[in-house]
Amino acid sequence: MKKSTVALCVVIVLSMAACGKRMKPLVATPISTAQADSMERARQQAVDDSLRAIRERELERERERERQAALLVAAQEAEAIALITGTVYFEYDQAALSAESRATLDAKIPALQARPAFRVRITGHTDERGSSEYNLALGLRRAAELKAYLVANGIDATRIDISSMGEERPAVAGSAESAWAQNRRAEFVQVTDEP
């Protein structure tokens, strides 16, 4: 209650002062030294607070810029890894590369070159037709074909491991060409264990 009375007085005094030189103050409100000091500290505090807020905002903007940059890098990295680990598809009973699968493979090369520590395992797969045992060999031939292409394009052979799951792990269930086409493939996964 007291505080608000004082504040009201101050407001009146200040508003009268603002009203112009012609008007003389009707009442001179006495302000103690202690009150003046308190007001000065409050003023200083307000200035400091606003400066701190400005600095905080700048820091926050800086952090946001860094976050955005990191997100961009991560997105680019994810994009590169998606390129590297993108599946390559094959024709029936073929290990040879089609034009389309060659393009998928070509896109992997710069991404692999930019990441010399990145190691991959290529696992070849087949559709369900033919001898399941012989299909393991066909799947491996597909993986070997892809590895040979990458090595010929400058990727260190020791970075690429090959394997085959033949017809044992179909991507899509079914006994029609639509399923078979998606199952004749080679998958790329990052490996971290010893070659």
Binding site: S131, E133, A137, A144
Partner: protein, 438 residues
């Protein structure tokens, strides 16, 4: 419903026809079919198994009858227990050949349960006398796996008495189940049980002494060769074989000391020879970069191998010496017809090779006689793959999609008669055991 009616009708008609012919038949055995003589293809002596007294008597008779039926060398005279019981000799009495004659049996089998097991008598109907008698001990675990196998052994002994050659009932089949694990099942379809629990287990191959098997498996994402006993969970990985690329299709040499398998890397898939005891370094058998080579099978002497190779383009069967020398083609596929020939298995008698041949777009089971290279096709419905010989060199187990889901089936290569072995979907890559005499 129609099928059921048709089937019942067919069974009735067949039964009537059988009875008519059996009753009309001369009581004397046909010419050339006598006890203890060799089996003559195309003829089937008729055998009557008498009922068996005792609590387990009906089961014993049923198992013996089924084994003789599955053996495909005899015609089983099928009498229900009550009808057949009237024919039983009184205790201590003689077989009444006069009363049995109308059934047309060449041989009468009389099993009798004893405290220790079983007494078997086989009567020669033509000679009207007891031809053979022997005691068999049966394990005490009645209906257990050991008891059933011992009884199958008795059936096989009957084959030996009648034809001079054992049957193949006392055997088991290893295979990859729908769950990607190795399973084992008795030759009559009983006692299916899982033996491995790894990431994936394919292509089981019996140790020649029947004590265990080798297989191709995946562990920690890599292909390895495993060896195992017949107790579940006794898998051990061979460390001499590097877990790189693929290591698949193992086959024991007949002496059980080495394993030939296919190992694939950047240079293709080659056959290698490793010690079964996991010692030393594996040795390459097929030439480097000679296409993909898989699925080896030894001849009974262990001197030669038959295997699948894509060295000429399409996969075909090839022969070579066990040390990898003298390779030569055994089949010639047609590139235009995509007629792949794969998955060979050399018969235990050394005479034939069974394999899967692509015929008219589907895989069928075929046998090739090594003497003149003549080929016979044994299946025609569905996809039929990965055949393996029974120790009788007559029956073949294989996987088939003839009824939809993949199952193991058995074909008698002589008569073409088929029976289904497994009842759980997805069974494949079977290997039939040697005779498992306890």
């Amino acid at each position: 419903m129609h099928t059921l009616v048709a089937r019942t009708m067919a069974i009735l008609v067949l039964t009537l026809a059988f009875w008519t012919s059996a009753l009309a038949q001369d009581p004397r055995p046909p010419e050339g079919v006598r006890l203890a003589l060799t089996y003559t293809p195309g003829t089937r002596p008729a055998v009557l198994v008498l009922p068996v007294d005792g609590a387990d008597g009906d089961s014993v008779r049923r198992i013996l009858e089924r084994d003789l039926d599955f053996d495909d060398r005899v015609t089983l005279i099928s009498l229900d227990a009550t009808a057949a019981r009237a024919l039983l000799p009184r205790p201590g009495g003689e077989i009444d050949f006069g009363r049995l004659a109308p059934f047309g049996a060449t041989a009468i089998v009389e099993p009798r349960l004893t405290p220790a097991g079983l007494t078997m008598r086989v009567y020669d109907v033509g000679a009207r006398k007891l031809a053979r008698e022997a005691e068999f001990t049966l394990p005490v675990d009645v209906y257990g796996p050991g008891w059933r196998m011992a009884l199958h052994g008795v059936s096989d002994e009957l084959g030996l008495w009648i034809f001079g050659e054992r049957g193949a009932a006392q055997t088991r089949v290893l295979y990859t189940g729908g769950d990607g694990q190795i399973w084992m099942i008795d030759s009559d379809g009983a006692n299916a049980r899982r033996l491995t629990s790894v990431e994936l287990a394919l292509s089981p191959s019996w140790r020649p002494d029947g004590s265990g098997f080798a297989f191709a498996g995946v562990s920690a994402g890599r292909w390895r060769l495993g060896v195992s006993g017949l107790a579940a969970g006794s898998t051990r990985w061979l460390s001499a074989i590097q877990p790189r690329g693929i290591a698949i299709t193992p086959a024991f040499a007949p002496d059980g000391r080495s394993i030939v398998y296919a190992h694939g890397d950047e240079g293709g898939t080659s056959l290698w020879l490793a010690s079964a005891s996991d010692e030393g370094t594996p040795r390459r058998l097929t030439a480097p970069r000679s296409g993909d080579n898989t699925g080896p099978s030894f001849d009974p002497a262990g001197r030669r191998l038959v295997f699948t190779s894509g060295r000429a383009g399409r996969p075909d069967l090839y022969l070579m010496d066990a040390d990898g020398t003298n390779p030569q083609p055994l089949t010639t596929s047609s590139l235009a017809l995509r007629s792949d020939n794969t998955s060979p298995d050399w018969s235990p008698d050394g005479v034939r090779v069974v394999y899967q041949a692509q015929i008219g777009g589907s895989f069928q089971i075929a046998t090739l006689a090594l003497r003149d290279r003549s080929v016979r096709q044994h299946t025609s419905d569905g996809e039929n793959e990965d055949p393996s010989w029974a120790p009788d060199s007559r029956h073949v187990v294989f996987s088939s999609t003839r009824t939809g889901a993949r199952q193991l089936w058995i074909v008698d290569t002589e008569s073409g008669r088929l029976r289904q072995l497994t009842r759980a979907a997805g069974a494949r890559l079977a290997d039939w055991s040697p005779v498992l005499i306890r």
